[in-house]
Symmetry: C2
Subunit: 219 residues, 2 copies
């Protein structure tokens, strides 16, 4: 019985790792479609998000089955409930990658953001992809060093997000209003993706250490 | 044992209702602070969000305790897992109300959005508050008519959200870029609040009927 149970727990862990890989890839490809105005690639990312949603539902069903059949206690129980939270964050990361691809598709064949500010977004998207990849490593190894790195990467995203708003408020900003709106939303999506990554990292930290402080800026 | 268990389940339900009341009030007051440039009221909303976060943590802990102590099965189990999802959505609704109040505080003593577009946001915020109040009634009565009404209210919010982007793209829009960015974010926050309300409504529908179609636009 315990053996089956641990196999189930391990499956849940593997599904979370798989989801983190898919959301890393989704953001990588979404940003490429955005950066190169590649509407076919954007379309693939948009269609691919359904798979991430499906995996979340599957993981949740498995978690409910484990709760029903095995009656887990204490730390195992927290692990399962934590997995439900993590799968929800990962699913949202997939949605945000999809939003980036949807902007690329909406503005095609024009680029969504002006060339002057594109490098900032390229950097933000790159940091997002790094966060998702490190989530996979964190989930795999439970080495909290990855969680600390994720928090540091997200702090850089927050700085870039603030820099975007500063650029928009600068008198030298001469873009039209729809472009300003697109720039604002793009920055918001890229920033939220990182926040969800941090949520997952904090959840793993909590499961490993038993300590939880949602207001902490570090682990 | 069953008696204690059902008392616990009822407590979880009451806490969800309480959260829905708090997030309705949070959005109502956040929007008032935003609409009247009342920085003190904005500050109260911002500070008050910690209570909503606290309630979510408390509800989650209670749910974990119930899972650990009682080993619930079948529909009760789904109810508890569903509650965890609902509390997460309600917590995010509180965050979004806080974001509205933060914009009010940031721009004080100026209003955040120009008077010309303010009525659209007033209507969106009013719809958001109605959604949160109907969630309370839905959770209390399990009458799915409220869920259908929530979905209809959210459809109106989506229309208004689209109208904001249309207004921003119109040649008659002459606002400066920071105002355009604020208008974009405000619309996004108000729209997301409604989406989370719909998520909770769908979850209740699923728990009552056992049917789930996350892609459906109606119940």
């Amino acid at each position: 019985m315990r053996k089956v149970f641990h196999a189930e727990l391990q499956s849940i862990g593997e599904e979370l790792i798989h989801m983190s890989e898919l959301v890393a890839e989704a953001m990588e490809r979404a940003y490429e479609s955005f950066d190169t105005a590649d509407t076919e690639l954007a379309q693939e990312v948009i269609a691919g998000d359904a798979k991430i949603d499906f995996l979340q539902n599957q993981l949740d069903e498995r978690a409910i089955d484990v709760l029903a059949l095995q009656g887990p206690v204490a730390s195992d129980l927290r692990m399962i409930v934590g997995s439900l939270r993590m799968s929800a964050s990962l699913e949202r990361m997939g949605d945000l990658a999809r939003h980036i691809a949807q902007l690329a598709r909406l503005r095609y064949p024009q680029p969504v953001v002006p060339e002057g500010i594109a490098p900032v977004f390229r950097e933000m998207a790159g940091l997002d992809v790094q966060i998702a990849r490190k989530l996979g490593e964190l989930l795999e190894t439970r080495d909290l060093q990855f969680a600390r790195e994720i928090i540091a990467l997200n702090a850089k995203i927050d700085e870039l997000h603030a820099a975007v708003f500063k650029a928009v408020a600068d008198p030298s900003w001469t873009e039209n209003a729809p472009t300003t709106a697109d720039v604002t939303l793009t920055s918001r999506y890229l920033e939220r993706y990182g926040d969800h990554g941090v949520s997952v990292a904090r959840k793993v930290n909590y499961l490993v250490t038993g300590e939880w402080d949602p207001a902490a800026t570090e682990l």
